[in-house]
Amino acid sequence: MEPNGTQNVLIVGVGGQGVILASDILGVVCMNRGYQVKKSEVHGMAKRGGVVYSHVRYGAQVLSPTIEPGTSDVLLAFEPAEALRWSKYVKPGGTIIVNSRKRIPPAACQDRRMDAPTRYPQGIEQALRGQVGDVRQFDAEELAVEIGDHRMCNTVLLGALSSVCEFELQDWLGAIAASVKPKTVERNQKAFLAGRNAQFAAMRDSLPSEKCEMSRSVTCLDAPEIAIHDSWCKGCEICVVVCPQACLKMNERNRAEVVKAEACIRCMLCEWMCPDLAVRVQ
């Protein structure tokens, strides 16, 4: 607790993971326990796969709706890279609970150079441990899928959070019942208990090591050369359309022409698709 007795919980994840609902439920639990509560998040771009966060603060009196870095009691991360992004918010002696399922953004898969790696941080767990002693990583999605609904992942994680909070089980189950759609109350409560029990079952130290080592293939190719047999080309434009790298263009005589040979990634589509065998990639 901070000097003025405010407790801070930061919940983070990626758009669509249910961060906000989870923090709403925590807010209800705190309020029903008679605490003052403030919570803060930013909607907008977040929905489209961007970063989502929710600050929850409770205590006798809460002023700022946001948490200062280095003062959060708990960081509940729905995704490993997001845990890393927000880890500086955790106070010394605080706890990080993290879902081990990665969400690799499409932006991480765009480097078309030979053997370029996926742009996703490696060694997250060590980095987290280097900062905060108490790191609890587990696969929440697996538990959710066991219950039969991958969307319950957020409730599983909330269950894990409950294992480090002061509130009674009944407070949580009641808040869940009050906050989710009536049809899904039972499943959500089950998911909550799965996450909670998994934590209590001391999953905390046996952490699966990072699997995602780069397998670098060492094919070394010279810069490709695209040759177009001008008199065979009848101007159907197929190669221009199929080239994923836009290396080709129709020229003013309506014949295909190479404009960006350096961008070629040797996928061979133009050569394969040309009905007149006019294109060669070497």
């Binding site: 403030k38 930013v42 489209r48 709706p65 293939s217």
Partner: protein, 607 residues
């Protein structure tokens, strides 16, 4: 949902929900606005209450304000909501309603976005209040958001003026506990004609301007006594003048300082501030964005420090306010942070820009426009995300509705080597795309206008508009058909195309850019996440067929990611079956037939 409560009197409400509640407790009869983050949820929340007030989306902020002014002139209390940049659109009406005044309360809620979380700029609405000489109230939490609404109504009627209520992203989207009052029925006063007041011909306008100056004088006196402004006595060493959410940060970080909290931002209580300044050894101003308070203090000869420690840029937070006090020497400097070298290196790869959803109907038109080497004047909406790699198909994005007019300029002022195309969403088209289309048609400019009709206002969370067939309360409404409208304006080339049909989009756009005049192409697939989630069988990649050509990766679909299996130095791909919504577009692009519906692959049916 999260408003479930233990005691009936207190609930957890966001700033926006609290404003809506304030409107109800003060008998608002007409409420209008145009969606815009972070203001959108005010009207949405109001529409969920079952009462007889009129609540509606207007096509743009100016229309919304016109409706609000009309209601207030008729004698009913009115609320108008918008985001900060929306006030630019409504500014013409705003500057004049400042002259006319009202007959019943008119509260204009404007939500600013310091830090540009989801906007095109971070302009400060307090400057508008000074420009238009309108009172502006600035609450600091949800409870105040509701309480200030009542005071806004009282000021509006007592001083015969529209009132601005300023929120910020942090206030609008933070939840706090609110004590509820009772909902008041709305009533309309009897109509009274008053030509001198409500018809701004020059002779009347001159007289009304005098009234504005007179009113500002009265408001200045009021500012000196109102409880909206609060002097909180503390240590005499440091005095802080602050407002809005920053007040909370200041109280948390300097609990012992003397604080002057400003709730009525315009006009300022200069006499009280002068006394406050005299009561402390050092005076600091903590205000987000522009130095509105600080400059007025200085203009009145009151010494204060502010922007040298607290930046004009971006959003404040407890840590930034603390750093400001440290810089000012009020708090000790922190120890130099330890260098977390390894962690920093790992963090370099932490980037997660927002992207178009899996199956978004905006994807293919941009893929094709890039192929056609078009010069694309973009607009504001989800489709703005096509500016990022790999689509990277947009040349300009400025403000709402700018695309078509800019395309005219790009065509007339350009070198003519690339086809010029404007892309605009349906909601944005209704907002401010129709007059520029008239301009293009009137002057017969050779441009293509692509109207991306996803049948909703998606960027702001899926609001209805004039083209969706529903109103804000979800009831059936009249629909304006975009194709019919364009034809009625005289467009000779109007084609509707299915944006999932890659070759149809290609063919249609190709003939559109060759058309000699204004060509209009309208896409017709709904947004896949709002108002309803659309999903069919997900697709899957047969790894042995994939030759890593990266064609599907050109879509930027978030469901398609790399595997670590390589083919000639390139990553093969895989599809996340949970994220994929089954639009089939990647399958159409795949030349090796590696992408097929998940259900068609017996080996993978169990996922």
């Amino acid at each position: 949902m999260a408003t479930a409560i233990s005691s009936p009197a207190q609930v957890l409400l966001s700033g926006n929900e609290a404003i809506a509640r304030g409107a109800l407790e003060n008998g608002i009869r007409v409420a209008t606005g145009y969606p815009g983050t972070p203001s959108t949820e005010i009207l949405e929340s109001l529409a969920r209450y079952d009462s007889e007030h009129y609540v509606s989306w207007s096509p743009n902020e100016k229309v919304a304000l016109d409706v609000g002014v009309g209601a207030a002139v008729a004698g009913s209390r009115a609320l108008v909501t918008m985001k900060h940049v929306g006030l630019n659109v409504a500014a013409d009406t705003l500057m004049s309603v400042a002259y006319t005044g009202v007959r019943a309360a008119l509260v204009i809620v404007v939500a600013d976005d310091p830090g540009v979380h989801s906007s095109q700029n971070e302009q400060d609405t307090r400057m508008y209040a000074r420009f238009a000489e309108l009172p502006l109230l600035e609450p600091s939490d949800s409870q105040e958001a509701k309480d200030f609404f009542q005071l806004a109504c009282e000021i509006s009627e007592r001083f015969d003026t529209a009132v601005l209520l300023r929120s910020t992203t942090r206030l609008s989207h933070s939840k706090g506990m609110v004590t509820l009052g009772t909902i008041q029925p709305s009533r309309a006063k009897e109509y009274e004609k008053n030509l001198n007041k409500f018809v701004l011909v020059p002779s009347n306008a001159r007289v009304r301007h005098e009234k504005v100056v007179e009113r500002t004088g009265l408001l200045r006196e009021f500012a000196e006594t109102t409880e909206l402004n609060r002097w909180e006595k503390g240590s005499s060493e440091i005095g802080v003048i602050t407002s809005g959410v920053c007040y909370q940060y200041v109280k948390e970080i300097l609990p012992d300082a003397s604080v002057f909290k400003i709730g009525l931002m315009n006009p300022l209580p200069i006499h009280r501030l002068r006394n406050f300044a005299a009561s402390v050894d050092r005076l600091l101003v903590v205000e987000e964005l522009e130095p509105v308070i600080e400059e007025q203090l200085k203009a009145n000869g009151i010494q204060a420090e502010g922007k040298e420690y607290f930046t004009r840029l971006g959003e404040f937070s407890p840590e930034r306010v603390r750093a400001g006090f440290q810089k000012a020497g009020v708090l000790p400097m922190p120890k130099a942070p330890e260098t977390a070298g390894a962690a920093a290196a790992v963090k370099e790869n932490l980037f997660r820009p927002p992207a178009l959803c899996p199956g978004c109907p905006h994807t293919v038109p941009y893929l094709v426009l890039k192929k056609l080497n078009a010069l694309v004047a973009g607009d504001i909406g989800c489709y703005t995300l096509a500016v990022y790699e790999p689509l990277a198909a947009i040349d300009t994005t400025l403000a709402m509705g700018c695309s078509i007019g800019m395309a005219v300029g790009l065509q007339k002022g350009g070198d003519g080597t690339r086809p010029v195309v404007a892309t605009i969403g349906d909601s944005t088209f209704f907002h401010s795309g129709i007059p520029p289309l008239i301009d293009a048609l009137y002057n017969n400019v050779k441009i293509t206008v692509v109207i991306l009709d996803n049948q909703t206002t998606a960027m702001t969370g899926g609001q209805e508009h004039a083209g969706t067939g529903k109103n804000l309360r979800g009831e059936t409404a009249r629909t304006v058909d975009i194709a019919t409208l364009c034809k009625a304006l005289g467009a000779g080339f109007v084609e509707v195309v299915d944006p999932y049909d890659v070759s149809a989009v290609f063919r249609t756009l190709k003939s559109a850019i060759q058309y000699d005049g204004v060509s209009v192409v309208i896409t017709n697939r709904p947004c896949v996440v709002s108002p309803a989630t659309i999903r069919t069988t997900p697709y899957a990649v047969t790894a042995k067929e994939c030759n890593a050509c990266q064609m599907c990766m050109n879509l930027g679909c978030p469901a398609i990611i790399w595997t670590e299996e390589m083919h000639e130095g390139q990553h093969k791909v895989t599809i996340d079956p949970v994220a994929c919504m089954g639009c089939a577009v990647c399958g159409l692009l795949c030349q090796t037939n590696a992408i097929i519906p998940l259900a068609a692959d017996p080996a993978r049916r169990t996922v």
